[in-house]
Symmetry: C2
Subunit: 554 residues, 2 copies
């Protein structure tokens, strides 16, 4: 490689934010993209359904993009794929289960036929021009998850993806630490590693410990058991099924996402169970409560989920009974605490017993804690390090951890989305920026909701809107009809008749003032109405509703 | 007391919810009210500033209400007081600091002169007709906090208020466990106890441990130190001041609420410090960074707080410098995790070091954990128990704890706001309900924002609004001007001209259809516009903005 040819590493998501993970690896005419994740909207992104990465940079050089390679099948790594592929239809590579989940998504979006999905196995190395991507088995809260070694002319890049080190994983195959050690020996230029759990000391417990808790609980329980968990946590589902089988219970499933994934995972051989273990949710009444386990969605308290509907007696097929045991096998994602708490309260009120994280070991994280990260750093021994998958606080802590392990701070790069990190055989440095950001998806609209629309939605949500309509005679400027004021989200109109009547007078006065001063431009008249009305309303209510003056001319 | 006379205990807040604590104790012609707290609005209470209890029940029998007695000076116990006293001006009783804080509030609301504030000390017993209220020293995250023993003709009621058991409190006075034991021996009819930390095993650490951490950090730090904490945590502030003094640093204060409380607490003797310790925030530039500690608001990441403004370089007097040490001495209240995380990220980005709860012992809770609660139950030995201050899950867990200690489930009453619990010397039972609920405060409006307004605000926040205006000739029903469509919070209008043009055509067609079918009622015309437009927009965008048709007639 000539000195001026550099390999560029450009995160388009997942740095300084949690979610929408996407990283570009570029060398001359070849680009590969790692992951295509989505992010759930922040609280102030009113009405937005999901957030995906801005891929303008890739669109501009479509022909260079050789592939999207996927580390695993979680939404924050594959959720943007249908939207991205519609604009940039390139081959996708991933393990069997990952692509199984992707397939369901692409089918829903009606683009499955047009897409090229390529199944890989751990240890596979796929060549894209001068870039080779090697898939390395790791462990995570979804099966078939991989770390990546990207072999480039500038050296090897190791990207951990999301991972934890589980010495007793449910699928029996431990993360391929030997291969990472081998690469470390060979010499790794850059390590990009998961920072999600960097603030937690020690180790993440093995998924198997959750199974042990289930076993204990199942053996002590005579009533019906309902377990809510993340749909994609197939190992968790396997363990629930195993405990159910062991204690002579049948398993029913409720919730679309879990139904889908159980179907995919069973088909592809990722769930193993005796024939007749599953029963239809419609048939649960035919069994004694002590013979049933229901696995359900809703572990985050999502208002439309199966568990939330059970908790408010709105579920069509499952009615919570006195003494039902509900296990919420998950931890609340930040921001969801109140939702899940509401569901737990409702379940208790209906007489169910509820076991949740603060009461028993019924969940473990899928991400590595400090000691696990230390092991990876020690094995991989990279020249450069870029912490990924975290907010700035996490990236910073991860940098401090690497420094404690002896790494020089100047070889650690806290990057940002859009920022280019370039390396050749001799050096690595942050250079300029490419376009990057958030694209908001709202209904069918991808990117048509931006700052102005969001600002308006926020304003509307706080104090509502007053629409002021008046019809004016073109020639004379005289008011023919109105002014009428219609408010929404401002005050109870019935109880505020005086206020609204006075508001009308304010508008009338503003109009008369304009007429008298021969102000005839609409913009000026509207401004005058707005200003006077705003001032009056603020004085009376200390609120600032949006004011929308509309002038009709005849 | 005759058999039919009963003492009624009616929570008007703080049961099945966190905050707006208020409990009514009623006997024949006497009512006393314990606490008058506020609650911060739930996420979906768009635009609402605070939530206070519905006191219709008290208003209806104004003359019976003898006093409001306060356990301590936190917002969730005194925050509603200015609003309540405006409707129900009764004498208020509380300890010196509690009333000092109340005073500041009443002054802001301009009602201080008209109110009767009565200072009590622990061990004081105040008589209100047949009801006597005894104040009992406890420990909490604010000084001068009390539990209450309410002596009634039906027996003694012990209300713990918010508390923890701190054997080494900063003010040197341990909770009066001896008095509780004495009352227990005497015989307590009903215990009402704080359930906030019921899910936490073990004990809450002493406030003093935080001081030890401060001392250690201060002794190791050469740079400027900025500590954010709750304004009302005066013991915390005392400890920061003590560490500052010990290590030769001056203290400056930033943030209105903390300035207010430091003033009140100093005046009343609750903060002790050497002369010259405090410096004006304007003078910090005159000192070396190593000689300064700034105590600030913003430990919850509140967007307008001093710390948040420092983090975004919008603070007028404090500019974050490289190597500043920022200590966030608090735990995020559920729902605030993202706000505080944002501030921490910004501070790190500006080169500060940040210490927060997951990294060091720089905060302890003010509430009792399981072992402390067991002690109280054991000392008080009540006949009946009502868990208070918690969501249903907490109340339920508290009930289970009491049962483990040997209490009969039928003597434990999980109540609800508005529900009457009545006791006489022989029995206790839940009986009917009185009016209770939430009153929403938005700006100057108290209770004028209700379900319809909130529903509209939510709708507006999701997909915005389309206003459709048309002027019609009265006689003929012919359209004279318009239809015009103005949207806010829906789509970028500039990029959606075709959509809006087509929307106008849909409205025109709807109007023509009405004219043709001789539909002349406004309501019918509006409905027709709404239906056709809604269907079209949903098909094109999968969004459902509010549609507001306005017809002007001339």
């Amino acid at each position: 490689m000539s000195k001026k040819d550099k390999v560029k590493i450009i995160p388009l998501g997942g740095i300084n934010e949690i979610g929408k993970n996407m990283t570009v690896i570029e060398y001359k005419n070849d680009i590969i993209v790692i992951d295509s994740g989505l992010m759930f909207p922040e609280e102030e992104m009113f009405g937005v359904d999901i957030v995906i990465p801005d891929i303008s940079y890739l669109i501009k050089q479509k022909d260079k993009v050789k592939a999207i390679v996927l580390t695993h099948g979680h939404e924050d790594h594959i959720g943007a794929l249908p939207y991205i592929l519609k604009q940039l239809n390139v081959p996708v590579y991933g393990t069997k289960l990952t692509l199984g989940i992707v397939q369901t998504k692409l089918k829903e979006h009606g683009i499955l036929r047009d897409c090229s999905l390529n199944v890989v196995k751990p240890k596979d190395i796929i060549t894209f021009g001068d870039i080779k991507v090697e898939f390395i088995k790791n462990c995570h809260s979804i099966p078939d998850s991989c770390s990546l070694a990207i072999h480039t002319p500038a050296g090897i890049i190791v990207h951990t993806g999301d991972f934890k080190i589980d010495y007793t994983p449910i699928d029996g195959v431990v993360m391929d630490l030997a291969r990472l050690a081998e690469l470390g020996k060979q010499g790794v230029m850059l390590l990009m590693a998961d920072s999600t759990n960097i603030e937690r000391p020690g180790y993440t417990m093995s998924e198997r410990t959750v199974g042990e808790t289930f076993d204990k609980i199942f053996s002590e329980t005579k009533s019906r058991i309902i377990v809510a968990t993340f749909a994609s946590n197939i190992h968790r589902i396997q363990q629930i099924m195993d405990s159910a089988y062991k204690h002579g219970r049948k398993v029913a499933i409720s919730g679309r996402s879990i139904e889908n994934i159980v179907e995919v995972a069973s088909e592809l051989g990722y769930l193993k169970f005796a024939e007749g273990l599953f029963i239809d949710i419609d048939d649960i009444e035919k069994y004694k409560p002590s013979d049933i386990v229901i696995i359900t969605t809703g572990s985050q308290g999502e208002p439309m989920s199966a568990l939330a509907r059970m908790s408010t007696s709105e579920h069509k097929k499952v009615e919570i009974m006195r003494d039902d045991l509900v296990i919420v096998s998950a931890t609340p994602i930040p921001g969801n605490e109140k939702l899940i708490s509401r569901v737990i309260n409702q379940l208790f009120k209906r007489g169910a017993n509820v076991i949740y994280e603060s009461l028993a070991d019924i969940h473990v994280s899928g991400h590595a804690c400090q000691e696990e990260l230390k092991l990876i750093h020690t094995l991989v021994k990279p020249k450069y390090f870029m912490p990924v998958h975290g907010e700035y606080r996490h990236l910073k802590q991860h940098s401090l951890l690497a420094q404690k392990l002896g790494m020089d701070e100047k070889n650690i790069f806290i990057s940002d989305i859009g920022q280019i990190f370039e390396i050749n055989e001799n050096m690595g440095r942050l250079s300029g920026y490419v376009t990057a950001g958030q694209v908001l998806v709202d209904g069918l609209g991808v990117g048509d909701v931006g700052n102005i629309v969001l600002r308006d939605r926020k304003h509307l949500s706080q104090d509502g809107i007053l629409t002021v309509v008046v019809t004016i005679e073109k020639e004379t400027g005289k008011v023919i009809a109105g002014p009428d004021i219609i408010s929404r989200g401002f005050v109870y109109v019935r109880e505020s008749e005086d206020l609204m009547e006075e508001a009308r007078n304010i508008v009338k006065a503003a109009l008369e003032k304009c007429l008298k001063n021969q102000v005839t431009e609409w913009a000026a008249i509207k401004s005058s109405i707005k200003d006077d009305l705003r001032e009056y309303l603020y004085e009376k209510t200390k609120r600032k509703p949006m004011i929308l003056p509309i002038i009709m001319e005849i």
